[in-house]
């Protein structure tokens, strides 16, 4: 195997995701935040450090900025961060649950040059919204949606789909139309972090999925270009894996609350890897030079069946984290691939989705207490099934 050859020019981090805090007033069952997030809630980067991150990344070519979390509105300096992004020329997006958005703040965001707001919604029913987020936030989200419209932000509604709301997709789309959403993301749950632990409880059946897709297509035909609808297919039900993050260290760069720089949301689960931190290294070094970012760039690292696969450029072997969590080795094919020797684990999960008893197990909500329990090894019976969850 030859060493990394930089024959191609290094890619640029066009998308920067700033996960500015892991604190969150919601406790969503499908949250993909790290299960040990309480380790990162007391050592958040300062305002100055975030401003430096924004400046450095922009210099490196970043254009799209997502400000996310946790709940980014829990930071008191969010207005300052937004204004800096605006003056640097980012196309910036605030990704929020809506909790903590006030008239005063949204006016400040407008002045600061925020480009759009992505609001998460969960269902048409108050019961399911409140159940799956383990909070009483249904009415609030509707109010926030109106505020977003009033301030003329393009509204992107993000709805994470799972077995509790998948049969309401038609009504959810109608609600989106009513509140004037410009974009709707129907994001089928991806199983990372908390959602992986709750997979049996969240995963819809294939039958539910096919119906939901048909309903979405029908709605799309009627609404035309007035509202753009993205239906993110759940990869478990595909034959081939997704090209995760569009390639490791190719386009996306994530800076997390404590300053760790990651190529994807859940990369922290990968063992024997040290990810760079902006408090020790410059962003430029992190992206261009750090061993972690170079490790899975390109395809030199691949093992069989990916190495000799004619489709390897299409998906780059799928997701490294999923390969690790489900097949025990980050360098194997993502088990979602039907050519993966470990594909059976996916087929089993699909089979399990038909079993109402498994689906009825209690959900482990994303909160501080549960995070501590996971760190202390008290929930080993749940985490052991998946490699590398703490």
């Amino acid at each position: 195997m030859n060493k990394k050859t930089h024959s191609k020019p290094l890619p640029k981090p066009f998308w920067l995701l700033a996960e500015i805090t892991y604190r969150c007033p919601l406790h969503c069952a499908f949250c993909y935040n790290p299960t040990d997030f309480v380790n990162y809630t007391h050592n958040e980067l300062s305002t100055e450090a975030w401003i430096k991150v924004l400046r450095d990344a922009r210099q490196m070519g970043a254009l799209q900025l997502g400000i996310s979390g946790g709940e980014p509105l829990l930071r008191d300096d969010i207005e300052e961060i937004v204004a800096e992004a605006g003056s640097l020329g980012y196309y910036s997006n605030l990704i929020t649950s809506g909790v903590g958005l006030t008239e005063k703040r949204i006016a400040e965001f407008k002045r600061g040059g925020l480009d759009h707001i992505q609001l998460s919604m969960h269902d048409i029913s108050k019961e399911i919204n409140n159940f799956i987020t383990d909070t009483n936030t249904f009415e609030l989200k509707k109010k926030v949606a109106t505020m977003i419209k009033d301030y003329d932000f393009p509204m992107v509604l993000n709805v994470v789909i799972h077995r509790y709301n998948i049969e309401h997709i038609g009504e959810i789309l109608e609600m989106a139309e009513q509140i004037g959403a410009n974009y709707v993301e129907l994001a089928n749950t991806q199983y990372y972090g908390w959602s992986l632990l709750n997979r049996a409880q969240l995963m819809p059946t294939r039958e539910q999925l096919i119906k939901a897709e048909a309903v979405t297509n029908k709605f799309r035909e009627r609404i035309g270009s007035k509202m753009k609808i993205y239906f993110v297919v759940p990869d478990y039900y595909a034959d081939r894996p997704k090209k995760c993050m569009n390639g490791w260290g190719e386009v996306f760069m994530i800076v997390t609350a404590d300053g760790t720089v990651l190529p994807c949301h859940s990369a922290r689960v990968l063992p024997n890897m040290t990810f760079p931190n902006v408090q020790e290294h410059g962003l430029e070094w992190a992206w261009n030079e750090s061993p972690a970012f170079n490790k899975y760039r390109g395809d030199d690292w691949m093992k069989e069946p990916c190495r000799s696969c004619p489709d390897k450029e299409k998906d780059l072997g799928g997701c490294r984290c999923q390969a690790l969590m489900l097949a025990g080795d980050a360098e194997l094919a993502d088990p979602v691939c039907e050519l993966s020797p470990a594909h059976g684990v996916i087929l089993q999960a699909i089979e399990d989705a038909k079993n109402p008893q498994l689906a009825a197990q209690p959900i482990l909500f994303r909160n501080d207490k549960n995070s501590r329990k996971i760190i202390d090894g008290e929930l080993k019976h749940l985490t052991d099934e998946f490699h590398a969850l703490p």
Binding site: L63, Q64, Y91, D115, Q118, P154, Y183, E185
Partner: protein
């Protein structure tokens, strides 16, 4: 192919889209929720002239003055507009 694009139509960027010159890349980029497109030189020259006031004929005339001697310029502009319209990057601002 581009018979949809009338010469007295007026186009502008779609709502909430932003066109921005990127010095580092030496090209225009079109930015919008959840996406961005790098515009090559020609496409950038066309799209930056869509100000919601000029007609297609005005834009073509301006480009012909700026780039004299480029063959088939009008056809290129029309097919560029056709593509941009098909992708919802731009919208028609007047009703004909």
């Amino acid at each position: 192919m581009s018979d949809k694009i009338k010469s007295d139509a007026v186009f502008g960027l779609a709502r909430h889209f932003r066109l921005q010159w990127e010095d580092a890349q030496q090209n225009y980029v079109l930015l919008f929720p959840e996406g961005m497109v790098k515009l090559n030189g020609g496409a950038g020259e066309v799209i930056k002239r869509l100000d919601g006031k000029k007609t297609v004929a005005d834009v073509v005339a301006e480009l012909q003055a700026a780039f004299p001697g480029v063959p088939e310029l009008e056809a290129d502009v029309l097919s560029m507009l056709d593509l941009a319209l098909g992708k919802d990057w731009i919208e028609q601002k007047n009703s004909l």
